[in-house]
Amino acid sequence: MTTAEARNLPALLQGLHEDGHSGTVRVSGSPGGTIHLRGGLIVAVETPGAPTATSVLLTPGRVDDETWLAACAAEPDTDRLGGYLVSAGLIGAAELEVVCTAAVFDAAFAVAIGPPGGWTLDGPEPTLHAGSGVEPRRLTEETTRRIVRLSGAWGAPGELARIRPAAVPDAGLRRGLSDRHRAVLSTVNGRRTARDMAFTLGRGLYAIMLDLTRLEAQGLIRWETGGPSEGRPSTAPRVLPARGAPDAPATNTPQAEPPAKAAPLPRRTRGGASWPGDDRTGASRPRDGQSQAVGAREGEPREALVPDGQAREGPSGQTPAEGSDALPAGTTGGHGG
């Protein structure tokens, strides 16, 4: 088996595919994610960076919450929930397949535009899926295509994901807009990132980012200039340097090099106030949301987040330094802006 020496995530998935492996690959990083395999094929990918198939069904009301809960009660095995939804007439088999397949590719894209992380292998876990699954090679190729498609003047897709676009005045009054674009415009408010909109609308992250670039090209929205303002906590996925990769080039180091390094030594203040710098990180953490669930504090070794006893089989940071391998990516076009 090649998993131990797999050079990167696509190589690992290809190796697992050739072995007909069924199980779970947990990818660390920001946002990171969980890849579910059945018989070597990828049937589901879950990540905090993009809505799951369940969210896509529930958020726009394709299946209402009560019906969903009743279905979950009737079929407690999530692996077989898809079959139950179809047999109960709640959704067509082909439509469910479309939703689940779209969610796989979208989540893979969300994982790929973040900084690369390590991985661990686990046994199979129940997850909602439909259809036979996706071959790793196809997933990698499509993810690469998406990353190339969304690389533009703003830089790599990872940069675009952090932009908080704002609508130009009277954008909604423009004639000839599709309902879909109007819906996206209605969620654009200068504070939401593409990921926020994806969760708000129950649509894919890539689809939202693509729509945003089209709206921007039509002059209906503008990218927030200057990025997050000083002092305002960021809720966007941060581009952290690949931890555990001492040989990684330093070019990935974000401009916000951990402030703790540059800050003066901790000094007590009267009244037993907290450590200098704690105010800011403390305030930002609760608002960081799930995208930061694995992020920890800047500068803190990410290895600390891997639970004890879970062997890190995938050498963190040993990800494609260049080329077209997409997963885990952010490599195409680089992280620079």
Binding site: G92, A93, A94, V98, A102, G131, R175
Partner: protein, 121 residues
């Protein structure tokens, strides 16, 4: 392995002259399934980009409403892109390649449109 989408699409090949059909995400260009000749159905990403570009230009020219279909004709072939109605979620495209000598464009397009909604059943 045949999927539910592929199985739905195979039925559309019954129309005379239809040589290949594919179900494509109209936004992302992802191909969900193919029946018949995949090359003649067209590349999903290119079809989605083309349909998006046409819809945008039509909108800019003042056209109201959603794009329903795009029909391209060469000396030997027809290429048809049909929007597929969906209860919620991003729109889909049914792309079909037709042999011009065997297909009656009007009838085949009508037949595809009538059965497009059944694809998701």
């Amino acid at each position: 392995m045949t999927t539910a989408v592929d199985a739905s699409l195979v039925r559309l090949l019954d129309s005379p002259g239809v040589t290949g059909v594919a179900l494509v995400d109209a936004v992302t260009g992802l191909t969900y399934g193919v029946a018949g000749n995949a090359d003649e159905a067209g590349d999903g990403a290119e079809c989605a980009e083309l349909a998006a570009l046409i819809a945008e230009r039509l909108g800019r020219a003042g056209a109201e409403g959603e794009l329903e279909s795009v029909i391209m004709t060469s000396t030997r072939r027809h290429q048809v892109l049909l929007a597929v109605a969906r209860p919620v979620g991003d729109p889909l495209l049914l792309t079909a390649g037709m042999d011009r000598e065997r297909a009656n464009l009007a009838l085949a397009t009508r037949s595809l449109a009538d059965r497009a909604a059944e694809v998701l059943a």
